[in-house]
């Protein structure tokens, strides 16, 4: 099985994530879509590591996981705070700042 399929899958997951950010309203789900995008990149990195015959890409994937975990902490804190204030997690409701 050629590694190219993994790359295509990764691109597909990235696209699904990006579209999810655009179409979903719940802030948590939007955030999960972004996580999906990051993880699709991980798949790419590992695949490229395999293609190039070295380990760098796999190590990078670990870095990305750590960063994503940190992002979850910060993101959930922010989303929690605004959910408690507004009793809603819809990103369309946070619409005071505009024009």
């Amino acid at each position: 099985m050629t590694p190219t399929y993994y790359l295509l899958l990764s691109a597909l997951l990235f696209a699904i994530g990006a579209v999810g950010v655009l179409v979903r309203r719940n802030a948590i789900v939007v955030f999960m879509c972004i996580e999906l995008m990051l993880n699709s990149v991980n798949l790419s990195l590992v695949t490229f590591a395999r293609i190039n015959g070295e380990l760098d890409g796999q190590v990078m994937a670990f870095f990305v996981m750590v960063v994503a975990a940190a992002e979850v902490v910060v993101g959930l804190a922010i989303i929690m705070a605004i959910f408690r204030a507004r009793r809603s997690a819809s990103v369309d409701d946070t619409n005071l700042l505009k024009y």
Partner: protein, 527 residues
């Protein structure tokens, strides 16, 4: 296939680190980490004073370490964090990096002074318990509680350290990590305003979601470039561009996505959409920090990536970046004309300035590099002072950022109006301010590189943008003050020092810019 696995009995090789060179970064991160510990162990009433002392010491100490290193820095710069057998390290310490570190530390110091100020608002501009539900009884009491969420200080230091790492990162992975280290604290800081909690939280959520979205793009670009070049080191990407067998689609899609991530951080149109909302909603000292330091970091990183990694592909990316510079200048100049909120207006001004900076960043000559570095320095100081002045004009609800409430300010407080006029003139690029020197240097470098059309557009855009700075000046001098208008608060030592520093730098860099220009043009990127 994996030959890198350690053989039996072989020692793990620690990468070579030149500690003297990276000492400034280490000091900043060290101070930040100690700050987190202080937060955990000190009683509440001692935190503010010890945190501010620690942060100031950290930044000043880093500055001293930087000065000590510069005094006998090796010619041409070095790279450090070098793995065994590698030719380049993960962190490059060269003239542009040192210049940007100095800039970031100075701007960080001014921002920190504004963040730590408690004279304008009892207890400071930040809420004491960010976790409390806003709108409720508890939050209203918060306005009277004199305490602040002192985690803001370590957060600022972490962000600053991230920025310093970002501008020195010599490979894309380090750059990504630094990008996150600088961004994550900023997302939180944007949501910590004491007043107008809903706006502040909205700014945080928008900045966070869009920032994470942009960093996903950046990361995907990194992955594609890794696939193309087999390495994420900037120099090796450049080398691979000349002779890699991989598909060029990987290369150019990778370049595009990495640049998108950088443009987002630099608030360049059309990736600017978060800027006005976040600038307006975030607490003003944080806005000042973001506007000045984040821009320096983003463009510092962009300069390095474009010059070191993507230079061989410059023929291809010149056209798209040309277009993006024009879009950014146009958006900033035109959208800014009808803004009614001062912080929002400055946000659009910063988008226009980002367009000018792209003009400088895409000019890959010595002049282009040094003039863009100078522009960042000049713009950073002016912006910090601008937000410092904005934080002075207040009414019963906190800062009065609506333009109409600034009417006739010159009658109430000629000094504040005079300083603000001077700063606006600097943003407009009138001679004897640093803004003029920056624009002149950047535009003449771009012209010498053959970008005449872009320079004409940039001059027209800056003429249009001058109009909305002028609107504020007209309002301050030529209108009658409103009866119930805001008052100008007399700032305490911290904010006074920050504004004075920013204004003095704007003036000095306008009259005797030679030392800064000389430093900026002392050397290029280490290859």
């Amino acid at each position: 296939m994996p030959q890198q696995f350690l053989a039996q009995g072989e020692q793990l090789q620690v990468p070579a680190i030149d500690f003297a060179a990276v000492l400034p970064i280490l000091i900043v991160f060290g101070a930040a980490s100690i700050g987190v510990l202080l937060e955990a162990f000190l009683p509440k009433h001692q935190r503010w004073s010890s945190q501010i002392a620690l942060s100031l010491t950290g930044i000043v100490g880093a500055g001293i370490a930087l000065a000590a290193y510069i005094s006998d820095a090796p010619e041409g710069g070095i790279t450090t964090f070098m793995a065994q057998g590698a030719t380049t390290g993960a962190i490059a310490v060269d003239t542009p990096a040192l210049f940007l570190w100095g800039t970031l530390l100075a701007l960080g110091l001014a921002s920190l002074l504004m963040i730590g100020d408690r004279s304008l608002e009892p207890g400071g501009a930040f809420i004491s318990q960010a976790g409390l539900q806003s709108g409720g009884l508890q939050t209203r009491e918060q306005a009277n509680v004199t305490g602040m969420q002192t985690e803001i200080f370590p957060l600022t230091l972490f962000a600053l350290g991230g920025m310093m790492t970002f501008v020195a990162a010599n490979d894309l992975l380090t750059m990504f990590i630094a990008l996150e280290v600088l961004s994550l604290p900023l997302y939180l800081m944007a949501g910590l305003a004491r007043r107008r909690r809903l706006l502040s939280q909205e700014a945080a959520v928008k900045y966070f979601l869009l920032g994470a979205f942009a960093s996903a793009f950046f990361l995907y670009g990194v992955a594609l470039l890794y696939g193309y070049a087999g390495s994420v080191k900037l120099a090796e990407i450049a080398a691979a561009t000349a002779g890699s067998s991989a598909s060029d689609t990987l290369l150019y899609a990778g370049i595009g996505l990495v640049v998108v991530g950088l443009l987002f951080k630099g608030s360049v149109g059309p990736f600017h959409t978060w800027t006005p909302d976040v600038y307006q909603g975030a607490p003003t000292p944080v806005t000042g920090f973001m506007a000045a330091c984040t821009k320096v970091a983003a463009f510092g990183g962009m300069l390095r990536v474009l010059t070191v990694a993507f230079e061989p592909a410059s023929w291809e990316w010149e056209v798209p970046l040309w277009l993006i510079a024009v879009i950014s200048m146009a958006i900033g100049a035109i959208f800014g004309l009808t803004q009614r909120d001062l912080k929002r207006m400055i946000a659009y001004s910063s988008i226009a300035h980002a367009g000018f900076l792209v003009v400088g960043a895409m000019t890959l000559t010595e002049d282009g590099l040094s003039s863009t570095l100078f522009y960042l320095l000049a713009y950073g100081f002016t912006t910090i002072a601008v937000f410092g002045v904005i934080s002075l004009v207040r009414d019963a609800n906190g800062e009065a950022t609506d333009l109409s409430s600034w009417a006739g300010l010159a009658k109430r407080s000629p000094l504040v109006a005079g300083v603000f006029t001077f700063l606006l003139l600097a943003l407009a690029g009138i001679p004897l301010t640093s803004g003029f020197i920056g624009k002149f240097a950047v535009f003449s470098a771009a012209l010498a590189d053959g970008n005449a059309a872009l320079v004409v557009i940039a001059l027209v855009a800056s003429a249009v943008a001058a109009f909305f700075y002028l609107r504020v000046v007209v309002l301050m001098y030529f209108s009658e003050p409103a009866a119930e208008g805001p008052a100008v608060t007399v700032p305490g030592a911290f904010t006074t020092a920050a504004i004075t520093l920013g204004t003095a730098a704007t003036l000095v860099l306008g009259i005797v810019p030679a030392f800064a220009l000389n430093w900026a043009s002392a050397g290029g990127f280490v290859p």
